[in-house]
């Protein structure tokens, strides 16, 4: 797997990171794995290193988006051609990576978003389902392309894309979402979807608890508005 880097942003995922790395190595033994430790207070960094992954230790927590962007910067500096982003909580099944690669090759895409809804069944809370549906509609209205899972963090990006996202504030600090798809489309990158398997979240604190979904939706509308208002870089 020449030129591929798997970037895993991780915050306090000591319970799952080892398993994630083991599974990735089982399906893709030759690929480079980078864990971006986002200021974890547990043994995430130590466990990741122990399983043979490269680890970047951020001095403090800067958020999922900031950590992922650090992975892009690493890939850019080290000359990688492709970055695959995978979550550290064992939700993304590494067996589906081949679907992303196949979609990029056959459709000559710049970015492939792994969709949990194209194949298989995934249980999602009502509010989150509504949000996902709404943002999918917005993405379709803007790009003309139907995205079934615009909030997926399971993605394959080529060098052109992650070079752009690695720069400045082109990637949000918190949760990159449908706004990123729209920004990539505006930059004339080709973005497609491919079916992936995602498991239900096991334990841990959900980002979807309490008032967070409401704030998330408001935040996302603002981010979408900014994509529409900003000039192309």
């Amino acid at each position: 797997m020449q030129g591929y880097l798997i970037a895993i942003p991780a915050y306090n995922e000591a319970d799952f990171i080892g398993q994630v790395i083991i599974e990735i190595k089982r399906h893709m033994p030759e690929v480079d794995i980078l864990v971006i430790n986002d200021g974890s207070t547990d043994r995430t960094s130590e466990i990741a290193r122990g399983h043979g992954a490269m680890v970047l230790d951020l001095p403090f927590n800067i958020g999922y988006g900031g950590a992922t962007q650090t992975g892009f910067r690493f890939a850019l500096e080290r000359g990688y051609d492709f970055v695959i982003t995978i979550d550290a909580d064992n939700q993304h099944d590494p067996a589906s990576i081949k679907n992303l690669i196949e979609a990029m090759q056959t459709q000559e895409a710049d970015a492939v978003i792994g969709s949990r809804f194209l194949e298989g069944h995934y249980k999602m809370g009502l509010f989150r389902r509504m949000g996902s549906y709404l943002f999918a509609k917005i993405a379709m209205a803007y790009t003309g392309v139907k995205f079934t899972d615009p909030t997926s963090g399971f993605q394959l990006l080529n060098r052109k894309v992650f070079s752009y996202l690695a720069t400045g504030d082109n990637y949000p600090l918190d949760y990159p979402d449908v706004n990123i798809i729209m920004a990539l489309y505006k930059m004339r990158f080709k973005v497609v979807e491919a079916p992936v398997i995602m498991r239900e979240k096991q334990g841990g604190k959900s980002m979807h608890s309490g008032l967070r979904p409401v704030i998330y939706v408001i935040r996302m509308f603002l981010a979408i508005l900014m994509v529409l208002l900003r000039k192309e870089d």
């Binding site: 971006i36 490269m54 970047l56 001095p59 800067i62 504030d169 600090l173």
Partner: protein
């Protein structure tokens, strides 16, 4: 404007001016950022003497008690100051992110070089 209201507003402005100057003197407040607050405090002091400007405007707006307009203007100026500092915080957040990413990448590079040196 009654003399007491005038004195109250002027005292507010003077107090703010002195507090800001003292914070700058103690190096607890950067000089360039303090300018905003010094101008705000001067504006508050001046507004206590601006009857001939404030009163006609207040009456034209249907306000029977002109000092209300002064307080509304003061609040608006504070809002602008807060907006300015929000912008400063946003900028700091971006720079903070860049620095932390750079630190992580450099630390990785240093560790890699150290490991290479250790190998026979």
């Amino acid at each position: 404007m009654s003399p007491w209201v005038r004195i109250l507003i002027a005292l507010m402005g003077i107090s703010l001016f002195i507090v800001v100057l003292e914070l700058v003197r103690r190096k607890q407040f950067r000089e360039e950022l303090s300018l905003v607050w010094l101008f705000v405090s001067l504006g508050i002091i001046l507004s206590s003497f601006a009857d001939h400007i404030i009163d006609p405007i207040a009456f034209a707006l249907g306000l029977t008690y002109p000092p209300v307009l002064v307080f509304v203007l003061i609040q608006f100026v504070f809002l602008l100051a807060i907006l300015y500092f929000s912008k400063v915080v946003s900028d700091l957040k971006s720079r903070n992110k860049e620095l932390s990413q750079k630190v992580a990448l450099m630390e990785f590079q240093i560790n890699s070089l150290n490991e290479r040196q250790k190998r026979p």
